[in-house]
């Protein structure tokens, strides 16, 4: 439990300033792209549809997934790799401590939990901050913007956001842990495994995202 709390603090809490910055930037980018476009074609209902489809369902889980991969993922692979190189896994085994339970599970759970919470935070806060920015620059009334977003939202979309927010970080973490454990006792393998872990984690997320999009279009 102590290790899990430490991992959640590192993966989730320490990420907050970065995530808040991305929320402001992504929220502004999304609303200032969507609102003028929907005005141009005289269809305000597009605001809700596009914000939900692009910002909430696509950008939020992918940006958080990539962010966790770049920030915590690199740390996970190098830490696990160094532990193998230093033979700390052997020490754990000699103490009767399961390496899966002590090393892998807390990091896996922390990625899943923090990924989900940060994705939800990103989705909610970016819409709110985007709306506030629109109101501040007199582009659109804040309440009207929220109403349009609410209209465009659906239960399916929220479930999809939840699933992506959970699955993307878990998939990438599984890949990172696998690569970290492959470093063996060769320190030169650590950067190789880190690069491989991050790239494959990213590829997995994008492939699953494409798979989901394809599946939904066929349904």
């Amino acid at each position: 439990m102590h290790v899990l709390i430490r991992q959640v603090y590192f993966t989730g809490v320490q990420s907050l300033p970065w995530v808040m910055t991305m929320i402001v930037l992504a929220g502004a980018t999304a609303v200032y792209s969507v609102v003028p476009f929907s005005r141009q074609i005289n269809d305000p209902s597009l605001i809700g549809t596009l914000v939900n489809a692009l910002l909430i369902q696509e950008m939020a889980p992918l940006i958080i997934g990539v962010f966790l991969l770049a920030r915590s993922g690199v740390a996970v692979v190098t830490e696990i790799g160094h532990m193998h190189v230093r033979g700390e896994d052997m020490l754990l085994q000699s103490l009767g401590i399961s390496t899966v339970e002590y090393l892998f599970l807390p990091r896996f759970l922390a990625f899943g939990l923090c990924g989900l919470i940060l994705t939800m935070l990103f989705a909610g806060a970016s819409v709110w901050l985007g709306g506030l920015m629109l109101a501040w620059t007199h582009e659109m009334n804040f309440a009207q913007f929220l109403l349009e977003v609410r209209r465009g939202a659906s239960l399916d979309g929220m479930l999809l956001l939840t699933a992506k927010g959970l699955v993307y970080p878990l998939l990438s973490c599984a890949m990172l842990l696998f690569q970290g454990a492959r470093a063996g006792n060769n320190p030169n393998q650590i950067p190789v495994c880190t690069t491989r872990g991050v790239l494959w984690g990213l590829m997995l997320m994008v492939l699953v995202d494409a798979g989901i999009a394809l599946f939904r279009s066929l349904m």
């Binding site: 020490l91 000699s94 009767g96």
Partner: protein, 209 residues
């Protein structure tokens, strides 16, 4: 009670089955790679190493085994990202039994004084000397009070004056606990300070590497 192992093949060397009784000291002399292989077999699911008690056999690598058998591994005494205090208490913290944690935490200052590391307990372990790895493993054994201690080349890579301090602390502990010792060593001149009732020497093709 005795610590037993099956006949096993380590790389290109056959090690015969054997055992250590409580209070006995035995030594297996073999190159370090073979020692690591022996230790890996200990934690393997094949249960090549086990503890024979009056009631039941306790397989190597299990929680019950590690409560009664303490390992002192060469240059593998600490987890770098924990403090020295957490490293010594690690097995207690992991088991999560409050009474045991309290007992170990209360006893820790005395153990740290004896090892002369009281002022370093809250430092992060990071990279440490072989001597510090040895001291932390010794501290763990002092708190755990095991029936058997498996030692892997504890004195190697220690400076001579530190070897002397470590040897004396280690021998005191073994006497105090009356524990059985299995000493894995790369050389018969290991300077462990222990009298072994049996010392088996193995050489293999890997020795020269």
């Amino acid at each position: 009670m005795r610590l037993c192992w099956k006949a096993m093949r380590l790389l290109d060397v056959d090690i015969p089955a054997g055992h250590v009784l409580r209070g006995e000291r035995r030594r297996l002399v073999m190159p370090r790679r073979y020692q690591f292989d022996w230790l890996r077999q200990m934690a393997s699911p094949a249960h090549d190493v086990w503890l024979q008690t009056g009631e039941a056999d306790i397989p190597g690598g299990s929680e019950g085994f590690s409560e009664r058998v303490c390992c002192m591994l060469h240059q593998r005494g600490v987890l770098a990202n924990l403090s020295l205090r957490e490293n010594i208490l690690l097995s207690f913290l992991y088991a999560g039994r409050e009474a045991e944690i309290m007992r170990a935490t209360d006893a820790l200052p005395g153990v740290a004084d004896r090892l002369d590391i009281a002022d370093k307990l809250d430092e992060q372990a990071g990279e440490r000397s072989g001597y510090m790895h040895g001291l932390i493993a010794l501290g763990r054994a002092m708190l755990l009070r095991p029936d058997f201690i498996i030692v892997q080349d504890a004195l190697a890579s220690m400076q001579p004056h530190r070897q002397e301090i470590f040897r004396s602390l280690f021998c005191e502990l073994v006497e105090e606990l009356g524990a059985g010792v299995l000493y894995l060593s790369a050389s018969t001149q290991d300077g462990s300070g222990l009298e072994f009732c049996q010392s088996l020497e193995f050489t293999g093709a890997e020795e020269s590497l």
